[in-house]
Subunit: 317 residues, 2 copies
């Protein structure tokens, strides 16, 4: 049999026509860094560029998934198809991602306009942000109007992933630590919108005030977008309308300021970088396990040369 | 002035002679990926290869830092110099690393045989595990006999970092979730030693039994090292002697099984890979911001070519 069992064009076509199994299988191939990914992405890329990409982050317990759920319902009410990618680079201690997907999907059972999927860790160097970018492109090509990338924590990987979004929403609760932590975490630089959730709690107003002050200090005078600080009680659907309104205003701002194009260019630059680093990592591994590579490693372990010398012998770049 | 204010050979010499400011400054340069790092590492590398490197991980609240503190005291009682690198790739929500260093150092105030330092996130692709490897080499060259790399969480970055250690100790508490989480987190594959801390709690014995069963299932018949499951109450110094004994037995095992050499080779292979990827990332960025790079990006954003085409035009590898 000459023909691959996985017919790239057919699967992408099926995905466009709304077949869930095709979408799921394509994202799994992306997650696993399958050899067919380059071929897949060549089919998928021309179909992209239409979706609105929203990043949502916040500490564990801030009510991120409840808020995201409310945004799904509100987006559906606007007639938009919504997909959620829950990125979980760390902390399997805190619970099973796959089980989480199933429970969350059940709430939207039977609604073909909603798709929820988690992405875990594969590979080493930037693997997860690479997979997230390509999964966003697949969902965009599959016709989802709004793609929400949800991530907990604010490490290296998470910040890189959030930078891929057009709009970044940061959810906090009074208990999640003071606003100084927000500064330290680098969230001030990436937040387009702050949401103080569980806003019925006593310390909520103080957190709002602190954030408003910090937003004021951080914004320069020419900035056309002033970062809103909104209050929600996501479990009771309180404040969701205001969040939806701000998201829509931020989308208009992206067009007026030409930031949308800048963001698309930087998304695609990152994609080029990740493609090249993935290939190069493969080349290094091949070179290290070749005869010459083993000789170099042996000279290194015996102390004849240093790692920086050895790297120059493995690859001249 | 022709001469750099930072004289690499002099600083490395000062570090070897126990000058703390030299050590701290060198590690800061490593953390910041300073241009002088290659030159520094050429001086440092020939002085390495003597230290015992221990990785410690476990979920937040397991008592990692209390246990590490006890291991410091016990190592000092053996006359060994001990350094701790606390790696914190994520979650600035959970508290300030630098403040933590100071509080922890105070407990060992005046003891020149103890050094505690945290490392945070710099750069993107594998930056933190690269810095951690080079900081370990610096501490090794500075004459520390035992280097403890402590990390919370078990994400991509943390697992990569733990693989650099000769011995990996996983700390759990009954509350940290069941043993299935341990499996899912990939800890079964990397643990050389399990410690159930806070072992006075009721569910401790059950966790120990589960871990013993899992260790049994996981080990093949030819394995010469059977992973111990030990109980401690680190706050009361209970069980520390047994942990120290196991650590020493694992060191003997590394020599008998020739695993020590394998681990050194893999540590150094990873270092070569990280050096090359750091250089290559720089090259990609330069290429993308060149005139040709901008033309390629423009063809990409206008949809004339795909990211995989574009990457081939930027670099032929």
């Amino acid at each position: 049999m000459n023909k691959s069992l996985f017919d790239v064009k057919m699967w992408v076509k099926d995905m466009q026509q709304g077949k869930r199994i095709a979408l799921a299988r394509i994202i799994t191939k992306i997650e696993n860094r399958d050899v067919e990914v380059p071929e897949l992405m060549k089919e998928i890329f021309p179909l992209t560029g239409k979706a609105e990409v929203l990043g949502v982050t916040g500490p564990p317990g801030a009510g991120k998934s409840t808020l995201v759920d409310q945004l799904i319902y509100a987006s559906r009410a606007e007639g938009k198809k919504v997909a959620v990618i829950a990125v979980d680079p760390s902390s399997p201690f805190s619970g099973g991602a796959i089980l989480g997907d199933r429970i969350r999907m059940q709430r939207h059972y039977g609604d073909t306009g909603v798709y929820i999927r988690s992405l875990g860790t594969r590979g080493k160097h930037g693997g997860l942000s690479h997979s997230t970018k390509e999964a966003v492109m697949a969902l965009d090509a599959a016709g989802f109007d709004r793609i929400i990338v949800e991530t907990a924590g604010v490490g290296q990987t998470e910040l890189a992933i959030l930078k891929l979004a057009q709009t970044v929403l940061v959810v906090l609760v009074p208990e999640s630590g003071d606003s100084i932590q927000v500064m330290k975490a680098g969230l001030m630089e990436i937040a387009d919108l702050f949401v103080v959730n569980k806003s019925d709690r006593p310390a909520a107003d103080q957190l709002v005030r602190e954030l408003v002050v910090m937003v004021g200090m951080n914004s320069d005078h020419e900035a056309k977008w002033s970062v809103p600080v909104l209050k929600t009680e996501a479990v009771k659907s309180v404040g969701i309308d205001a969040v939806m309104k701000s998201l829509s205003e931020h989308q208009s701002y992206l067009d007026e300021s030409h930031l949308r194009n800048q963001k698309r260019t930087s998304f695609l630059s990152e994609e080029i970088e990740d493609i090249l680093l993935e290939k190069f990592t493969q080349k290094i591994k091949e070179s290290l396990s070749s005869k010459k590579g083993k000789e170099i490693l042996s000279d290194l372990t015996s102390g004849k040369i240093t790692p920086y010398d050895a790297s120059g012998l493995i690859f001249k770049i």
